[in-house]
Amino acid sequence: MTKRLVLICLGTVLCACSSESKVTPEPLTPVALPDLSRMDAPVQQQLRERSQTLASKVEKPDTPPLELAESYGEVGNLLLAAEYTEAAEAYYLHAQALAPSDMRWPYYLGHVYRLRGDLATSAASFERVLRLRPNDLAALVWLGDVNVDQGKPEAAEPLFARALSLQPRLVAALFGAGRAALARRDYAHAVDQLEQALAADPRATMIHYSLGLAYRGLGDTAKADEHLRQRGGVEVGPPDPLMIALRGLLHGAVNEEEQGVRALSSRDFASAVVHFRRAVELAPDNPALRHKLGTALSLSGDTRAAFEEFEETVRRSPGFSQGHYSLGVLLAQEGRLPEAVDRFGAAVRLDPEFPQARYGYALALAQMKRYEEARKQLAEGAARFPDHQEFAEALTRLK
């Protein structure tokens, strides 16, 4: 079936290209779905359905090339969302050959190659996008980034400048321009661009690192230190509707989990519960998912349901320390201290490097007036986790 499919595809592509444009047909790699056997069942089903739809379109000689391209692209999207970049590449190449004026396929290919570490080919793909759509902000920024990563800051700067001419306060472009200037050791310009980026989005804490290094380059160690200390993990990216469209594409548990986590971080607890519950239905033996469901329930105010999920978590996975810890928290909140102590104690035994569990354990012991044991736990916590000041502070209070 695969062989036949490939032959048909090649024929279709050659016909399509010769009739639609003067673009030279590219040599196509054979397309075949990867081994799906270890994917989540819903993801397997999605891929098989899309692949069958594609096959039926391929077999129809009158399928318009653009429709066929769409179908190849849809399979490519699922594969990219599943991080099967090599398999996705083959489908996108077909889509690109069938619809050479559609910027989506070289755009996704740019990301496929970027993720695989092939920066030169990634850049070529993003350049192709920009030939089709010169003012595409996402492609401008990504191509700029790829150029900086290839050691070509001079090639990156005009791209960021063009993006900024279209959207003057675009944080990703300011950040890129700052990093390009940093790479050229033009520290003053780097500071200027990065300060603007940070002013445009103070939440983007990742900028502090580059800004700190730019100030260091200027010899301003105090400013450098100030920014380096504020450095965080909040990343900066361009407006990227095509990549965002891939989120939520897969029906599997991991995807539901990702959406749940996103909902949780934006404090949309009700949506988080929905996503985590779907994830648990798909992977009932995954304790981390059930634990997240319990957490979302607890945050949404449904303590009883949260309690049930945490209990189920530790029943199914007795070695899952976070389940014991969360149960301990709820039990302590309800004043059921002996049970809370048991749960916290179990969490600490399972994972001695779990600071929150040890702290909860110590507090619950103290509340039960078991001061000596509490002090022991706090002393050990203070020694093990010097960054966690709460141990030393509680120890002082207990003495």
């Binding site: 990867p34 081994d35 270890r38 994917m39 989540d40 069942a41 993801v43 969302a81 599943a82 991080e83 099967y84 970049t85 090599e86 398999a87 695989r116 570490g117 092939d118 920066l119 030169a120 900086v148 990563d149 290839q150 050691g151 990093r179 940093l182 790479a183 990742m206 690192y209 580059s210 290094l213 260091r216 450098a224 230190d225 380096l228 200390r229 450095r231 993990g233 897969l250 599997g252 991991v254 798909l282 992977a283 995954n286 981390a288 996975s317 070695g319 899952f320 320390s321 600490v348 035994r349 399972l350 001695p352 490097e353 779990f354 022991k376 050990e380 020694a383 093990r384 010097p386 960054d387």
Partner: protein, 517 residues
């Protein structure tokens, strides 16, 4: 590969090149994750290599779950000792100077006891620690090697939870689902025992999942510093404060993160003066998609990340790098680099081919172009560079004593490879063993080879670096077509300097501390 995606099975293991029997050639230790690590005696004769497995009677009785190895003469008796890192308690083997070793792990207090005596609770859990790379380093310059042990994460097979890719397929976990363990610094008490000084030295303040360790004087103050490559968290550059404590200057030095400000998956690391400006630069290997990092030292411990400009970053993005070192493959006087690679998560293209161990990747070899850039010469490296394997540890040293650096590669779930250098000995070179007292290697000593033209090439006697591995402590300096050396200057670890004016080229010479003429 167990098929259960057990995290620990893909992390090791390392290898060592060290002359345990003091016969002038490098012997080999191969660390094993499953089973007994193996010690091979090098029976080099007339340039011909052959090895004998001497594990049985050597006393090197490893506990299994082996990860890495460090070498150094901790008791100053002139015989190099052996430290094995494990998933579980570590092991220190004292060399008896008669071809055998004695396990002194417990009495030396280096097996992973709790950080402080107060932490007796959970001792069992502490013993279940996980160390990967370690380094002997005389951090207080008292002439006795101390020991830094890089610890990874808290992981137990029995409580480990499965991890999944976005498609729901089970795969190896990422390190960020586990708690990192603090690394340890052991002070040498000069009586065969060590004291855990981690907390007193300030190293408990910040830690991550450590995989790579390199020790060198990064800020040029004459005191050894410690660089730790962490997996998925910021790297640390511990600058020696000369009073038994260290201060983490990772962020300000520019060596903690990538140019973007992201923490990468640091694995292997090495320090060396690739640009011949007199200070040690850092090279760190990372995960597929990230690219390896080159941090160029300005001489006072501030670094500039030049991964992209040098070409080392972009060319390595498709690989997950582990063992690596700066070494002068062609003896032209400029340090080149080699990286052994192997993924940590399933490579789908390989799995589609029903590959039973779909993590393998090719090695990479880069030649120094002498202008801050490197050329990818992997394709010219010979058939060994076409092999795709799951590379982890790599030990570097002149195993056939022909004047160039060879490489021993430890592959996960595969045969080791000994890569013999056939190009370096075509150029001139100078080989130096730096010793003191009864012939103990002076790890940490710096050597300046002054050429007639006045240019000085600085190198360092070291055994640490790479990934979970131990290297030849001798210093080998490539001279290219130069046939005469004006002077050899040695800066000993305690800061004293000596000079030798007549050192022969194209051979090894032992320079003994206090013996300059």
């Amino acid at each position: 590969m167990s098929g259960k995606f057990e995290y620990a099975e893909i992390i090791g293991s390392g290898a060592a090149m060290f002359d345990y029997d003091n016969d002038g050639d490098l012997d080999v230790l191969l660390v094993q994750y499953k089973g007994q690590s193996r010690l091979f005696r090098n029976d080099l004769s007339d340039g011909k290599l052959s090895f004998t497995d001497v594990t049985e009677n050597s006393g090197v009785s490893s506990r299994g779950n082996g990860m890495g190895v460090a070498t150094g003469d901790f008791n100053n008796d002139g015989c190099v000792d052996l430290f094995l890192t494990n998933l579980g308690p570590n092991q220190l083997f004292r060399n008896n100077c008669d071809g055998t070793f004695t396990d002194v792990s417990r009495q030396s207090h280096t097996d992973g006891e709790p950080v402080s005596p107060k932490l007796a609770i959970d001792r069992k859990a502490s013993e279940g620690g996980w160390s990967v790379s370690a380094a002997f380093v005389d951090y207080d310059r008292d002439g006795w090697l101390d020991l830094f042990v890089g610890n990874y994460v808290s992981w137990h097979a029995e409580t480990s939870m499965p991890c999944f890719s976005p498609s729901g397929r089970q795969d190896y976990c990422s390190p960020n689902v586990f708690q990192p363990q603090p690394s340890r610094l052991y002070h040498n008490n000069r009586d065969g025992t060590f004291t855990d000084v981690t907390a007193a030295a300030g190293l408990l303040r910040e830690y991550g999942p450590a995989l790579g360790v390199s020790t060198a004087d990064f800020n040029g103050d004459g005191w050894p510093d410690i660089y730790v490559a962490n997996d998925g968290q910021p790297n640390q550059l511990w600058i020696n404060q000369h009073d038994g404590t260290f201060k983490n200057m990772g962020l300000l030095s520019g060596t903690a993160l990538s140019a973007h400000g992201k923490a990468k998956a640091g694995m292997g690391v090495d320090a060396g003066d690739f640009d011949n400006d007199g200070d040690d630069d850092l090279f760190v290997t990372n995960l597929t998609g990230e690219g390896n990092d080159l941090y160029v030292n300005d001489g006072i411990g501030l670094f500039e990340e030049q991964s992209a400009r040098s070409g080392l970053g972009p060319a390595s993005r498709a690989y997950t790098g582990f063992g690596t070192a700066w070494f002068d493959i062609d003896n032209d006087g400029w340090l080149d680099t080699l990286i052994v690679n192997g993924a940590v998560q399933t490579i789908e293209a390989l799995r589609r081919l029903s590959d039973p161990f779909p993590l393998h990747q090719r090695k990479l070899l880069f030649r120094n172009l002498r202008d801050g850039r490197f050329e990818d010469v992997t394709a010219r490296g010979g058939p060994a560079f076409q092999l795709s394997e799951v590379g982890r540890g790599a030990a570097f040293g002149d195993i056939d004593n022909d004047g160039d650096v060879d490489v021993l590669v430890a592959n996960n779930n595969g045969k080791p490879r000994l890569l013999i250098n056939n190009i370096g000995s075509r150029s001139h070179w100078i080989g130096l063993r730096l010793v003191a007292g009864k012939g103990r290697d002076r790890i940490g000593a710096r050597v300046g080879v002054v050429l007639d033209a006045g240019r000085t090439i600085w190198r360092r006697a070291r055994a640490e670096g790479s990934y979970a591995s131990a290297n030849d402590p001798r210093v080998l300096v490539g001279l290219g077509q130069t046939t005469h050396v004006a002077l050899v200057r040695v800066v000993w670890p305690d800061g004293r300097t000596e000079e030798w004016k007549t050192v022969a080229i194209d051979r090894y010479t032992t320079l003994t501390e206090g013996d300059s003429k």
